[in-house]
Amino acid sequence: MTDELLNLTLHVWRQPGPNRPGGFQTYPARGITTHMSFLEMLDVVNEELIEKGEEPIAFDYDCREGICGTCGMVVNGVAHGPQRLTTVCQLHMRQFKDGEEIWLEPWRAHGFPVVKDLVVDRSAFDRIIQAGGYVSIRTGSASEANEIPIPKKIAEQAMDAAECIGCGACVAACPNASASLFTAAKISHLSLLPQGQAERDDRATKMVAQMDEEGFGACTNHGECEAVCPKGVSIQWIARMNRELVRSIIKS
């Protein structure tokens, strides 16, 4: 394994609060090893800033293994950065070259107001799920798990849709700041399964209505969402969501 050191220049969006003006500031990142993760590189920069008495760059993170969906920023214009199927916490510095300039921005969308610097408020996603992204099953009232066989193929498809980590990259990448991929993934996951049938029509209608109310745009088939999704959630689910909506309209 090689262990080169990189010297980089970061242009970072700094914004003190939700309704305050923001702008880019430039910081050097020196002596960065290629084995560091992108967020570890930011940790190093931040520790230097703190020791110098400056405020560190605020960015969200938690599990740092690509599953919790907390992290997310736009790196050189691409949500989560240059490596496909990779969250920014799993992106490593060997993807960058010595001397490179890196531009860092928060998710930019009406539905995701900036909290500070690169941190945004994604509670709109929670509200979309609250609008109907569940099966109404009371604790303790479930029947025997093997009572309803589910064909393997259907279970696998449901799992494909359920892979979504709720990071919001799809919204950040979409020219319309649409939350269609996120919403469609949950609608599809549940509508594929027998357990999700009773509330199927209602669920699609309510979740889509909530998505609109949160100020996310409509889908116009750009496909940017699928391209940046770290879990490879497919745009086919958006087509399925639209079918579910039509189905619910016809049935009502």
């Binding site: 599953i67 799920i129 099953i137 399964l193």
Partner: protein
């Protein structure tokens, strides 16, 4: 302090039913009059909040993450155990109970473990009904696998993301209750203090992480499901935000902390690559089914490329030392042996702080035998993850692995009702100590979190409220509430104004982690623990003198958040070492080098068959020990041996 387990007596398979029959209930129409605080939104907290909301209680749920869907339960890969016996291979509630008590090295409470094993059946039913997409067979029925050396196939899984899917199931149930108005969710809120009034837990003080606002929340009772304390090691497989603060604040108010020295080290993680490293990533244990673990036989070979080291110069140390189990020895044995070979200077990979901490996990034999395609089908996603992090392809060169802290069995002491030693304060999931003894079996953490959250707490909480009936109202200006708020504010002021600010909190956290990892990690000695107990207080003083936090407290300030957590890890770390020093035996995750027989852990049942429950005395160096004796009526203690 008196430790009363309140466990029922009589035949073990009747205890939980009997206990439920004898418990108090709250009538449906009365439930909305009670306010319950749940801290944490992982499997235990999310499931408890959702279930209590469904029953009609008023629930306030808090999490430090920006959404309840992000709790660290989400990162569990392998699966969840349940004694369904769908494979007809001889599994039963009793066998799962037996395996768990034995796996815990006879340091858990039999009644609790039996209940866990019984409830495992309902968890799977509940999760399937929620739409959790478990793996299935072609006939459409649920698939199972054998996990962590179990002799039956009882593990249910959803690809490598079982924790994620189960958590999303609980999150969806929680979201439904938020929509219904029974649960009020407070994301990006951190509990910084417990409010105790008249000897009962009556609320918490939180800091809003977005605005810095400090606020009291008053209720009839408090449930802590705030996870484990693995991040005391600084580097662990936990999420960066995981912390001990909620349980530690409770401990300082009188909740006993049980068995803090029982921590679990997972043998197959990606080794540390540099001193800047922020966390360690776990690779599924299943890799040991086909990978062979080795190190160079000679020290001069450690810097060579593994391909250049001839077969005769490789030491397959697990196969040599444990011919019967080979590379599949249990987690603790595999981990400790990796420590020994690297202590002998045979570790491989990059040098970090003067040491090479890594061993090879080699798939070349398996690829030769089964073909690359088969290996790709079995481990493709893990190999990709490894390559993304290290830049090396395990198809071409051996993986490097090393053990890392993964789970903490210790936690707040709770009785059979999951109530702590503070009346009205309950603890569920990894935050309590209850079910895993000195060592947790694979695929049992998800099971315990959900059993506590869906099926135990909703019931025992009702029993508590049914007993206390009506608590007197507590106003925000009451001195007990005000003193909790003052304590939070004073601490923040103290952290923000260290006398000689020099370093970010991470600096001190890393140093603390090194002490704990070396002295209270995989292998412990009385001498090392005594050294740690001298070093930790000194480092803690230095922390309070030199910690540097920029920005201010009335704002989004991640440095301040971390500093508060590190401060609590110092006190917990000291207690861990005290506990490890007191326990003069080896059991499960606690290995004291002085107590071994032919390299195997040597338990001392005559002297140490008890739960160590520590009471806060006001001085972190002098906690008071209380003992809950453990008796084994069903599973008679035997020695674990893998030779």
């Amino acid at each position: 302090m008196e430790l009363r387990s309140h466990e029922p007596t009589g035949p073990i398979e009747e205890r939980w039913e009997k206990h439920k029959e004898a418990s108090k209930l709250v009538a449906p129409a009365n439930r909305r009059r009670y306010n319950i605080i749940v801290v944490g939104s992982g499997l235990a907290g999310g499931a408890a909040a959702a279930s209590l909301g469904e029953m009609g209680y008023n629930v306030q749920c808090f999490c430090y993450q920006d959404s309840p869907r992000r709790a660290h339960s989400i990162a569990a890969q392998g699966g969840i155990n349940a004694a369904k016996n769908y494979q007809n291979d001889g599994d039963s509630v009793y066998r799962l109970f037996y395996d768990t008590v034995k796996g815990g090295d006879f340091r858990s409470r039999e009644s609790n473990v039996y209940r866990l094993s019984e409830l495992s059946l309902h968890i799977i039913d509940q999760a399937v009904a929620q739409g959790v997409p478990f793996a299935r067979e072609y006939g459409g029925l649920l698939a199972n696998r054998s996990f962590g050396g179990a002799q039956v196939s009882r593990t249910f899984y959803a690809r490598g993301q079982t924790g994620q899917q189960l958590l999303l199931g609980a999150y969806q149930a929680l979201s439904r209750q938020i929509e219904a108005g029974t649960v009020q969710m407070h994301s990006r809120h951190e509990m910084l203090e417990l409010i105790v009034h008249d000897g009962r837990a009556r609320g918490i003080v939180t800091r809003c992480l977005k605005t810095g606002e400090i606020k009291p929340h008053i209720a009839d009772m408090v449930v802590l499901c705030s996870g484990g304390y693995g991040n005391v090691f600084y580097l662990s497989t936990n999420a960066k935000g995981c912390n001990v603060t909620a349980t530690w604040r409770a401990h300082r108010h009188g909740a006993a902390f049980a068995n803090p020295c029982y921590t679990q080290i997972h043998p197959t993680c990606i080794p540390q690559a540099g001193s800047y490293q922020s966390k360690l990533t776990l690779m599924s244990e299943s890799l040991r089914n086909d990978g062979r673990v080795w190190v160079p036989r000679n020290k001069e070979d450690v810097t060579k490329r593994p391909e250049d080291i001839p077969e005769s110069d490789r030491c397959y140390y697990l196969e040599e030392r444990y011919p019967a189990f080979g590379n599949l020895v249990p987690r603790d044995v595999a981990s400790r042996n990796a420590l020994y070979v690297t202590n002998d200077g045979l570790g491989v990979g990059p040098e970090v702080d003067g040491e090479r901490r890594g061993v090879y996990l080699d798939f070349s034999d398996a690829i030769g035998r089964l073909g690359e395609q088969t290996i790709r089908e079995r481990y493709g996603n893990l190999f990709e993850m490894y390559e993304r992090i290290t830049g090396d392809s395990p198809y071409k060169t051996p993986m490097r692995i090393y053990p890392a802290t993964h789970y903490t069995m210790g936690g707040l002491w709770v009785d059979y009702n999951l109530e702590t030693t503070i009346p009205g304060l309950f603890a569920g999931g990894e935050a309590n100590f209850s079910d895993h003894g000195a060592n947790r079996l694979g695929a049992s953490a998800l099971m315990q979190g959900l059993a506590d959250g869906y099926f135990v707490l909703p019931f025992t909480v009702g029993n508590y409220l049914g007993q206390v009936r009506t608590l007197p109202p507590l106003a925000e200006d009451h001195p007990d509430v005000q003193s909790a708020i003052t304590s939070v504010n004073e601490r923040i002021t103290k952290l923000m104004n260290a006398p000689d600010p020099k370093h970010a909190p991470e600096h001190f956290h890393r140093e603390l982690g090194k002490i704990i990892w070396h002295k209270c990690g995989m292998s412990r000695t009385a001498e090392g623990l005594k050294e740690a107990l001298e070093q930790i207080p000194k480092l803690r003083e230095q922390f309070w003198r030199e910690v540097k936090i920029t920005g201010n407290g009335e704002d989004f300030n991640q440095t301040l958040e971390r500093a508060g957590r590190v401060a609590d890890f110092f006190e917990l770390g000291e207690l861990m070492c005290i506990d490890a020093l007191e326990r003069n035996e080896s059991c499960g995750g606690h290995f004291r080098e002085e107590y071994q027989e032919n390299g195997e852990a040597l338990r001392d049942d005559a002297e140490f068959s008890y739960v160590s429950a520590w009471e806060w005395s006001g001085n972190p160096a002098e906690p008071r020990l209380h003992k809950e004796p453990l008796t084994f009526e069903y599973v008679k203690p035997t020695k674990r041996s893998y030779k």
